[in-house]
C-alpha cells in the first residue's frame, strides 16, 4: 500500500541534440593502407597487391558516401512506468539521423557500476528494461549517456546530454496495531480513553451523585445497595475520550546501509537497506497509524528547517506528512540548531535515528527533562559484513560499542527505546510496541522500559 506521489506519473524525459561528427582514425589508417597497397602493386608490378587495396577503397568510398548528415537532429526519450513489484519499468527510444548505424548507451543504475550496451540504430525503438527499487525517498534511478556511431563506426559523435530519471519512491508501510500514548491526553474528542470522567468512553466507576451529573446516569441498583440515607444517589461514570499529540522527529543527517563495507562509499546500488529507508518506513507507519486513530501528528526533519509539518489530524494532513517523510534526505550542509524544535505540550515524541552520534540523543534527553514521553526509534539496520576488511570490522565494533553506551545512557534517564528493523533473534517489533503501549502511569516515574 502506498500513496501515489506527484512524481509517479508517466513523464517522458526527452533530450534533443544536433550531434557533431568526428571521422574515425581507422578510416585514415585504412586510406593510407589502401594507397600503400595500390602504389606498391603499381611499382612492383604486382596486380595481386593492387587488388588487395580494392575492397578498402570501395569500403572507404561507401563509408564516406553514407556518412551522417551534419546538422541533423537526434532525439532520445526515456519513459518510466508506474512502480510495480519492487521494480520500475522504463522504455528508451532514439530517433537518430540517417547514416547512424549504432548507439552506444552507458547506463548507471542507482549510482552504481556503469553498464554499456551498443544498440542497432535503425531499429532503436522501444528498448525496455527494469530498475530495481532498493530504496525509498528521492533518488536518481537511472542515468543514460549515449553517443552515435556512423556507418562501419567510421564517424562518431561526442556523448550527448545525459538522460536522468529522478523519482520519489514511497516508503513501505508496516501495520502498527499497538500505539503508545503520551503521558497526558488532550482535547475532548478522539479515540483514546483518558483518565478524566466524561462522555464517550467505557465504564469508569461508580460515584456519588454530584452537581452537574445527569439524572439518567443514576444507577438505581447501586443506589439501593449502597445508599445509607434517603438522599444518597450513585451514578455510573464513563471515561472521557481524548486524542494524542505525537511529534515524529526524523534524524536524516546521515544515511548508512546494512553493508558495512559500503559505509564510506555509500553507493545506493550496493549499500543494501539503509537507515533512512528504515526511518522513512517507521515514520510513515507511525504517522498513518496515529492519524487513522484520530490523533494529531507533527513532523520534524533534523537536517532541514524547511521540512517541518505542524501537528494536525485528518487524511489531508496525512498526505502532507507522508510527502514530507518521502522527501527526507541527508543534507550536505550540517544544520546546527541553537534550540531544539518546539514540542506541543503533552506530546509523545518519537526520535528516529541511527544513533551514530550524540545530537539526536541530546534532543531526546532535553524533551524528556521537560516532561514529554520520548521514544527513541533505532533505525540502524542489522550490519552485514560482506567484503569487509579486518580494520573495518574493528571500526564497526567500536562504533557499535559507543552506540550501545548512548542507548544505555538515555534509557537510564527515562527515554524509551524501540528498535524498528525486524531481526531474527530479537523480540518482534509488534511485541515491543505492545510493551510500550501498556498504561504508563507510575512506570514512567523511574522510566526504564
Amino acid at each position: 500500500m502506498s500513496v501515489p506521489s506527484p512524481h509517479s506519473r508517466l513523464t517522458p524525459i526527452s533530450r534533443t541534440s544536433v550531434p557533431t561528427w568526428t571521422r574515425s582514425a581507422g578510416l585514415t589508417a585504412g586510406g593510407i593502407v589502401a594507397i600503400v597497397l595500390a602504389t606498391g602493386g603499381l611499382l612492383l608490378g604486382r596486380i595481386d597487391l593492387a587488388l588487395l587495396a580494392l575492397p578498402h577503397i570501395v569500403a572507404l568510398a561507401w563509408t564516406r558516401q553514407r556518412r551522417p548528415a551534419t546538422g541533423a537532429v537526434s532525439e532520445a526519450t526515456l519513459t518510466l512506468r508506474e512502480p510495480r513489484d519492487s521494480e520500475i519499468e522504463f522504455t528508451l527510444a532514439f530517433d537518430v539521423p540517417t547514416g547512424v548505424e549504432a548507439v552506444v548507451v552507458r547506463s548507471t543504475v542507482l549510482g552504481g557500476d556503469t553498464n554499456e550496451i551498443v544498440l542497432a540504430a535503425p531499429v532503436v525503438r522501444d528498448v525496455t528494461g527494469s530498475i530495481p527499487l532498493l530504496h525509498s525517498g528521492l533518488q536518481e534511478l537511472v542515468r543514460f549517456e549515449y553517443r552515435f556511431l556512423g556507418t562501419d563506426a567510421g564517424a562518431t559523435s561526442p556523448p550527448a546530454e545525459s538522460l536522468v530519471a529522478t523519482r520519489v519512491i514511497s516508503p513501505a508501510r508496516a501495520r502498527v496495531a499497538s500505539l503508545p500514548l503520551p503521558l497526558r491526553l488532550r482535547g475532548l474528542t478522539g479515540s483514546h480513553e483518558s483518565a478524566r470522567a466524561g462522555d464517550g468512553g467505557d465504564f469508569r466507576d461508580i460515584h456519588p451523585f454530584a452537581v452537574g451529573d445527569r439524572l439518567r446516569r443514576i444507577d438505581w441498583k447501586t443506589t439501593a445497595r449502597r445508599g445509607q440515607n434517603p438522599g444518597d444517589l450513585y451514578v455510573r461514570r464513563t471515561s472521557a475520550l481524548s486524542d494524542a499529540t505525537v511529534l515524529i522527529v526524523l534524524d536524516s543527517r546521515d544515511d548508512v546501509g546494512e553493508q558495512v563495507a559500503q559505509w564510506t562509499s555509500n553507493i545506493a546500488a550496493t549499500k543494501g537497506v539503509s537507515a533512512l529507508d528504515v526511518a522513512r518506513e517507521a515514520a510513515s507507519s507511525l504517522a498513518t497509524a496515529y492519524i487513522q486513530a484520530g490523533d494529531r501528528v507533527g513532523f520534524q526533519d533534523l537536517s532541514s528547517r524547511n521540512r517541518m509539518v505542524a501537528h494536525a489530524g485528518g487524511h489531508r494532513h496525512l498526505r502532507q506528512l507522508l510527502r514530507a517523510i518521502e522527501v527526507t534526505q541527508p543534507s550536505s550542509i550540517p544544520y546546527r540548531r541553537a534550540r531544539p524544535p518546539i514540542v506541543p505540550p503533552g506530546a509523545l515524541v518519537y526520535v528516529l535515528s541511527s544513533l551514530l552520534d550524540d545530537e539526536a540523543v541530546r534532543l531526546a534527553l532535553r524533551w524528556r527533562v521537560t516532561g514529554h514521553r520520548v521514544v527513541v526509534v533505532d533505525v540502524l539496520p542489522a550490519a552485514r559484513f560482506a567484503r569487509t576488511t579486518r580494520a573495518e570490522r574493528l571500526a564497526h565494533r567500536i562504533v557499535v560499542m559507543q552506540r550501545d553506551d548512548r542507548i544505555r545512557a538515555f534509557r537510564q534517564r527515562g527515554v524509551e527505546y524501540l528498535r524498528w528493523p525486524e531481526e531474527d533473534n530479537v523480540t518482534s517489533r509488534r511485541a515491543r510496541l505492545q510493551i510500550l503501549s501498556r498504561p504508563t502511569r507510575g512506570a514512567m516515574a523511574g522510566g526504564r522500559r
Binding site: S24, A25, G26, L27, A29, G30, I32, V33, V36, G40, L44, R46, I47, D48, L49, L51, L52, L54, P55, H56, V58, A59, W62, P83, S86, L92, E101, A102, V104, R106, V109, G112, N115, E116, I117, V118, L119, A120, P122, V123, V127, G129, S130, I131, P132, L133, L134, S136, D152, A153, G154, T156, I169, S170, P171, A172, T270, G272, V273, D277
Partner: protein, 196 residues
C-alpha cells in the same frame, strides 16, 4: 511496495541477443591468425602475425590492425601472383580485418553489442566482396603471368582496352553538355521543334 532488495543487478535492458565486445576482439585475433597461416604457413611468421593481431586487439587505439594488414600484404609478395583460393581468402580476410578494426576502435571493451548492429555491415561486406572477388578472378585470370611467364593479356592489350574505356568516358561526359554539335551550333538549336 517492497523495496528491501539486495543489490542492483546489471543487464537491465531487454535488447535481445548480444555479444560482448571481447568476443569481437577475439574474432579479430582469430581472423588475423588465420590470415597469417594463410599467407605465411605454419612457421615463425605465423607466431609474429598472431602476436601482432593480439596486440592490435588489446590496444586498438594504436591502429596496429592496419599494421597487420600491411604485414599480411607483404607476406603475399612471397607468393606468385596468380589466381588461387588462398589469395581470394586473403582478399576477403584483409577487408574483414579492416571492418572489425573500425568497430573495435570505437566500441568500449566492456560493452555488449546487439547482434543486429552488424547486420548492415555484413550486407555491405558481401556487397563489396562479391564484385571484388569477381574482379579479382577476372583480372588475375587475364593479367597474372603464368608459371611459364606467359601473360594471357599483354600490357599493349591493356593499353588498347584502357584507351577505349577513356574514349567511352570522354564521349559520355563531354558529349551532351558542352562539346557536342547541338550545343555549339545556333542553327541546330533553332531547328528544334517548337513546344507550342
Amino acid at each position: 511496495m517492497k523495496y528491501f532488495g539486495a543489490e542492483a543487478t546489471p543487464g537491465l535492458m531487454r535488447t535481445g541477443a548480444r555479444v560482448p565486445v571481447m568476443a569481437i576482439r577475439a574474432v579479430f585475433v582469430l581472423v588475423g591468425t588465420l590470415m597469417s597461416l594463410d599467407v605465411y604457413g605454419a612457421n615463425g611468421w605465423l607466431v609474429v602475425g598472431a602476436v601482432f593481431a593480439l596486440a592490435a586487439a588489446i590496444a586498438p587505439q594504436f591502429l596496429l590492425a592496419w599494421g597487420v594488414i600491411i604485414f599480411l600484404a607483404i607476406g603475399q609478395l612471397t607468393h606468385h601472383a596468380a589466381l588461387s583460393w588462398r589469395f581470394l581468402v586473403l582478399l576477403a580476410g584483409l577487408h574483414l580485418i579492416h571492418v572489425i578494426s573500425l568497430w573495435t576502435l570505437e566500441l568500449p571493451w566492456r560493452a555488449r553489442v546487439q547482434i543486429t548492429v552488424f547486420t548492415h555491415g555484413l550486407v555491405r561486406f558481401l556487397a563489396i566482396q562479391v564484385p571484388v572477388q569477381l574482379v579479382a578472378v577476372l583480372l588475375l585470370s587475364l593479367l597474372a603471368p603464368r608459371a611459364s611467364g606467359h601473360r594471357p593479356v599483354t600490357i599493349a592489350a591493356c593499353a588498347v582496352v584502357g584507351a577505349a574505356a577513356l574514349a567511352v568516358l570522354a564521349v559520355r561526359f563531354a558529349g551532351p553538355q558542352g562539346g557536342g554539335p547541338a550545343a555549339s551550333n545556333p542553327r541546330a538549336r533553332d531547328s528544334r521543334p517548337s513546344r507550342s
